[in-house]
Amino acid sequence: MARASKLSQTSTESMSGENAIANKEVEGLSQGQIVRRRFFRHRAAVISLITIFSIVILVFSALDFKLFGIWRIPGWWKWTTEELPELRVGDCPGGTVGCPTISLRPKFLGGAGIGLGTHPFGQDDIGRDFFALVMKGTQRSLSVMIVIGFLGGTLGTIVGSISGFYRGKIDAVLMRFVDFLITVPAVLIGSVIGYHYGNLGAIFLAFYLGLFAWTGLSRLVRGEFLTLREREFVDAARVAGASNRRIIFKHILPNAVGVIIVSVTLLLSGAILLETALSYLGFGVVPPDVSLGLLISQYQDSFTTRPWLFWYPGFFIITIALSINFIGDGLRDAFDPRQRRRITKKERQLSAIAKKSAQENE
């Protein structure tokens, strides 16, 4: 009994101490500054952010890229996905052909030195450069992801905020419509869409998938609006004569932005997995176009003989999805005001010293 009460006492004390430390840090900062600070303290999220940026730059600069279908930005990589260079035969382990030439072991450790070589990721059956194929596939998967995320995020926010703000009949109609769409599992509706419209191009497919991807987000935003619209600051704005539009955009939406951003990141990582899964099933991006899921499904049988055809596309899918999930986690921590971060021992000691010296001064 005594032990337990003592425990709880110390925990309350340390808790208030931690609160004090945490509060001290955010004194005089704007909401945006606090969020930014908290986010940059999340090490995994920052590493993931850097990873995503480098992948995007690598992927979109490697091959020729058409901006809005007009400007052609030349890529730095020597091969394209259409070229058919000669298959490398002979110097591969186990008598295989077209093995990767990338080497990460420097010369003084007995390797071939750090370098890309002619075909860093190897070549496929007919000799196409696999690095170019993976770059093209990642381009496709990333653009599909961004389109789905953008469309789903916008639609979800709009529908959710309208039905949460106006409530009543509008809310009932919109939410029943959401119920309609939510009954269909994502993979099933994606397959129907992908199978019938996949040949129209990856962006078109993404557009269609985006039209169905917003339902979960809209429910969350609606819930957030339902609670926020009862708060005092909304009453104050209304008394001051603000219009509905102004209240939605200037008062409620900025307060709901944390929920929206976090669930959009989750939507993004779900979108890249959905696209690759559909392409794997043959219902997504179709040949001659390239996508990461398509690459895996084309070469999964050669896993035992030429594993690189399987590893590299998978590596890119996982890295992208993992980074986005970590960024989402970092954002959630940053936006959540209840989140208490771990107070290190050193900080606790410093605050104790400061407290002591303050008492002594008194």
């Binding site: 337990a4 709880s8 009954t183 869409i193 993992l322």
Partner: protein, 514 residues
């Protein structure tokens, strides 16, 4: 309550009708079921086209044809459902009746495993918040989130199934493998147990030594070729289960609970030979059920005779212990079947299959062998599905438990002087289960809908494969049959989740607001 359920069912059927209408037209307008016939050079293709259009009523425009289809579906209520015919001339209902049990079998074990493992690990990570274990489990769960199942499946086939089969050809654990496994188990258990540095190292050494010696013993006894537990090990494990369950539920200080659990372990030992006799002479689900009932009945009687006050929790403990002990007996029987199973010609010492739902060559009448075959075929898909879906449970149960531990009633419970086990298991864990239950139900329906990919990868022919077939051959009735089953399941799951929520959480009352 009744009025609320009826109203919800009414709304849900309208929703189902609406969404099936949308999907029906989406699928009907997107392709022509006669396309392949139009291109064929078959001399009687005109006849085929006419007969197929008559059969599938293609002359009716899709929006109207939907209502013809829906009329057949409504037959569910008079016990005469008609989902139409497939292109091959079979009834969709017949195809579905074959496919649904397969899909359920595929996802059932994986869902249970994912829930148990996920909640267990999630709770430990929450209790050891910000520890190394917490961080590594967070990383693992994010990694699992990001894995595409078709990619994992290829890896599992190569590194789990084929490698394990090769290992069985000459089942000797190399010393490096033994040390790795032992060290891994040491690190895992030490970080789960936690505590001061001294406790950490002590539990690390203990877990390493125990795991290493178990593996070495299994290796020495050639256990991988002829596994089995035997009465002594079954009894020892059962005693372990009895202690563990009692400690988690009411604490080992509760003598009545401990005594009743331990007598169930004794009963398990006594039942070992009789149970095996039943297994051999009366194989089949009935014998198993009987065994469960007998053990449960014994558990209740023992618990009642040992306890005087506070009987409910003690009976629950006894029931749980008897269930797990009976499970041990059955697992032991399956292990004994392992050797005859491997010796059959169809298996020939390569027991872990990479594809398919059963071995058609096996052709064994033996209850145990054919069921063991089903289990080995379930192995890879279950591992893949569990890996992917338990990450969600880890994150969710961790978050919920942390939230609950910050509540005032936890502080009150601690202030009352309750011990840590009671605070965690009774006050915190039970409240964590409320939101988790609703997630589980909805998730189960979602997994069934998402089984399409898993079935394709592992070559199972369940509902996903039906859907795939329907999509490829523009078989609208087949497509809608699968869709209707999954959509109904997900709608019902949502209803059940709502009802469970109100049953578990007294603060929420359904149907009161309106």
């Amino acid at each position: 309550m009744f009025a609320f359920i009826m109203r919800r069912i009414g709304v849900l059927s309208v929703i189902l009708m609406g969404s099936s209408f949308i999907l029906y037209n989406l699928a009907a307008y997107s392709g022509d079921p006669l396309a392949d016939l139009k291109q064929s050079t078959d001399p009687n293709r005109d006849f085929l086209m006419i007969s197929l259009s008559r059969e599938l009523q293609l002359d009716v425009p899709p929006p109207a044809r939907y209502f013809l289809w829906f009329k057949g579906v409504l037959g569910v209520f008079v016990g005469n459902a008609n989902f139409g015919m497939t292109r091959e001339g079979a009834t969709v209902t017949g195809d579905l009746a074959q496919a649904i049990p397969v899909t359920l079998r595929l996802v059932f074990a994986a869902t249970i495993l994912a829930i148990v493992l996920g909640i267990g690990i999630g709770i430990v990570t929450a209790l050891r918040q910000y520890s190394r274990f917490d961080y590594s489990m967070t990383f693992v769960s994010f990694l699992m989130f990001s894995l595409p199942i078709f990619w994992v499946a290829v890896l599992l086939k190569q590194y789990l199934a084929i490698a394990f089969n090769n290992f069985l050809r000459e089942p000797n654990v190399p010393p490096s493998g033994l040390i790795t496994l032992a060290l891994f188990s040491g690190i895992f258990w030490a970080s789960v147990i936690g505590g001061t540095r001294r406790v950490f190292w002590r539990s690390f050494v203990a877990a390493t030594v125990i795991a290493g010696s178990i593996i070495a013993l299994m290796d020495a006894l050639n256990w991988f070729l002829q596994p089995g537990l035997g009465p002594i090990v079954v009894f020892a494990l059962s005693v372990g289960v009895a202690y563990g369950i009692t400690q988690l539920s009411v604490g080992v200080t509760n003598k009545a609970a401990l005594r009743s659990s331990l007598s169930i372990s004794g009963a398990t030992l006594a039942m070992y030979y009789p149970a095996n006799w039943v297994f051999d002479n009366y194989p089949g689900p009935l014998g198993l059920l009987l065994l469960f009932v007998v053990m449960a009945g014994f558990g209740v009687v023992v618990a009642l005779s040992f306890s005087k006050i506070d009987r409910g929790p003690i009976i629950r403990t006894a029931l749980l212990t008897s269930f797990l002990s009976t499970l041990l007996l059955i697992v032991d029987k399956f292990m004994q079947t392992w050797k005859p199973y491997m010796e059959t010609d169809a298996i020939n010492y390569r027991p872990v299959p990479t594809i398919g739902q059963r071995n058609d060559l096996l052709n064994s009448k033996d209850f145990w062998i054919s069921n063991l075959d089903l289990i080995t075929h379930l192995f890879l898909p279950t591992v893949a599905l569990t890996l992917i879906s338990f990450a969600g449970y880890i994150r969710y149960s961790r978050g919920t438990l942390l939230e609950v531990l910050n509540q005032d009633y936890i502080r009150t419970a601690r202030a009352k002087g309750l011990n840590e086990r009671t605070v965690i298991m009774r006050h915190a864990f039970r409240n964590t289960l409320i939101p988790l239950t609703t997630i589980m139900v909805v998730d189960f329906a979602g997994v069934i809908g998402g089984a399409l990919i898993t079935e394709r990868v592992f070559g199972w022919s369940g509902m996903g494969t039906l859907f795939y077939r329907g999509l490829l051959s523009f078989d609208l009735n087949l497509l809608m049959g699968v869709f209707f089953v999954t959509a109904t399941l997900s709608v019902l799951a949502n209803l059940v989740a709502d009802l469970l929520y109100s049953a578990l959480d007294p603060r929420i009352r359904v149907g009161s607001g309106s």
